[in-house]
Symmetry: C2
Subunit: 350 residues, 2 copies
DNA sequence: CTGAAAGCGCTAACAA
DNA sequence: TTGTTAGCGCTTTCAG
């Protein structure tokens, strides 16, 4: 239990040695040649007094704080935020670092975001993680460049900073392939209307995967709506509104779990049972939804925890000189999005 | 844009004054008598050089870091975590403080949680927020006592530390009253089985509110299950399984939104339309569920953001000597849980 | 094998 | 009105 009032000096006097010696044994300095007895004396004195180092003083002296700044755009607006933070926090802790978190609004001015980064810099964080709450391109405050930094879930508009993002395309492929593997041939896509990378990449992968399977990917039905439950509902109503049931898709790939939730309702209203009459795959793996729908929604998981951990790991490597971030900055690192299988996929009827 | 390599000394030479003067003008020290011209010189020199104070050095000298430690049990396991963090972060930022976050597992040993607090203490945080992710009694590491601290969403087992918790009872009352106001007389409660304060307090308030309305609160139907969707489903099936429809509750108060989600499904299976045949109120206001169910779920909101902000506000007051925390520690502060009205409540059929 | 002393960047008491 | 200087608690060079 580190006691605020006890310093290295107190330990030194208690152990009858100099502060140098205390510092050397407590930090296990490699080149220090100190007798085992002295070491013991020092250690037990420190223990006795409840000594804990003053990291501020250490940092001032060594120019290393062991702190990482995490500026997070819109913490808490999305449940994903927590996973990124958790991944970062655990990776940091494992390497002896701590996290300072600053929340910033995605819609905040570049200037106010610069001030947020400045606050971190004044505290002399060793590096900065900049996390956005959904995958997108982001314009970054210039002062970010003054310490090692890595982007989580976004790529810089300028493009010259190390970033880690989800494999949208691979995720979408996995989703569609699961549907194909179950025997589906008429598959629809319920897409988002936002102009973000995920929208385009998932659509592209959707069509490509169908085409590669010998189907007409270009002609497959796609309906776009806002990426909310009601949007999913509307889109599903439209996509399922074929006169002829033989024309109707037997499976739906949905942009995200919320839209899938809407599709569930549309299916219910149309008297379609999931998965017997209609198979559905989502995206995001928002537990609250995916695991709780009935039947459980098979969906593609976004690697938020992993991105947080990866970014932290590499940031620390860079800080410790084990990695060259400028090299990695050439292209973003892409982390895979695994399919989480639940109960919303089955073979099509006949 | 604070430049790491520029110190107060550089500003001093650039402005042709001493470091004292620089320190005085930049910190707007009250008793300093410095000519306006000098002030200007200093400020523009600082500006020019991109000077930013080294908060470490300041802190070392002043014994004030302006940092708050937030130890959070199970960030990210629940979406609520983010709201607490956000409330704390914004309140802190507004008063010039920053947050250091450490995640700790609720199931972690007392010792490992003590180490987490120690990490914060070594960094000389000015105070500590200890947040749990659901309202409960918690055993705290002893070293928490060495700086001002406040608990968020829990009360200490020992009971001698300032805490802020949700008004479970008031929330439950609001829920039941909304049902009564809509004209319901046969109201059931779907409760949780965990031995946490919310379970007991909500039940108690449920019965009391009915009784006060002239009904037989003691006889009102209550079914308990695990507080998940499937638990809610099971409990709802049981509670709605009356032979005689005249006996069946016309409204259900559910322990949380997830259980309410299960109740929705049970109702659908029984051919009951919400809210025409059955009114439902939840608890938690988990947006993802409550806003997305169809019809939207009326529910009681937990004041997570508010608790985070309140705790931070008062922690800072204590740090700055504006409040005496030991006084507030006498009993926990209770923040109200407002009813969020959506579309799941209607008058009972005749 | 161990210790003295300088200095990280800043604030504040004291002197001028 | 402004400057000198000690010292916050630590690490690390250099000397013994």
């Amino acid at each position: 239990m580190s006691n605020k009032n006890i310093g290295i000096k107190d330990v030194a006097t208690a152990a009858g040695v100099s502060v140098t010696t205390v510092s050397h044994v407590l930090n296990e300095v490699a080149y220090a040649r100190i007798s085992p007895e002295t070491r013991d004396k020092v250690r037990s004195a420190a223990e006795q007094l409840g000594y804990g180092p003053n990291r501020l003083a250490q940092a001032l002296r060594t120019q290393r704080t062991g702190m990482l700044g995490l500026v997070s755009e819109d913490i808490a607006t999305t449940p994903h935020a927590g996973r990124i933070i958790l991944g970062a926090e655990e990776a940091a802790k494992a390497r002896g670092y701590n996290l300072m978190i600053i929340n910033t609004s995605g819609s905040a001015s570049l200037e106010s975001r610069r001030d947020d980064v400045d606050a971190l810099l004044e505290r002399r964080v060793d590096g900065i993680l900049y996390a956005t709450m959904y995958h997108r391109n982001v314009e970054l405050p210039a002062n970010l460049g003054s310490v090692p930094a890595v982007l989580v879930d976004s790529v810089a508009a300028g493009g010259n900073i190390t970033a880690v993002i989800p494999d949208e395309e691979g995720g979408a492929r996995a989703a569609v392939e699961a549907l194909l593997a179950a025997g589906h041939r008429r598959i629809g896509f319920i897409n988002n209307t936002d102009d973000v990378p995920a929208t385009h990449q998932r659509l592209q992968a959707f069509r490509a995967t169908l085409t590669e399977a010998g189907l007409d990917g270009g002609a497959a039905p796609v309906e776009s709506e806002v990426s909310e439950v009601h949007g999913g509902y509307e889109a599903a109503r439209r996509i399922l509104a074929r006169e002829d049931r033989a024309d109707m898709p037997t499976a739906l790939f949905c942009y995200n779990d919320r839209m899938a939730m809407g599709a569930y309702r549309a299916a219910a209203e149309l008297g379609l049972t999931i998965p017997a009459d209609l198979s559905i795959v989502g995206f995001d793996d928002q537990e609250l939804i995916a695991a709780n729908l009935h039947p459980g929604l098979s969906t593609v998981a976004l690697p938020h925890y992993e991105m947080g951990a990866w970014a932290t790991e590499h940031l620390i490597d860079a800080i410790e000189g084990k990695t060259d971030l400028t090299l990695m900055a050439l292209h973003p690192t892409i982390l895979s999005c695994p399919l989480v299988t639940r109960d919303s996929i089955a073979a099509p009827r006949d």
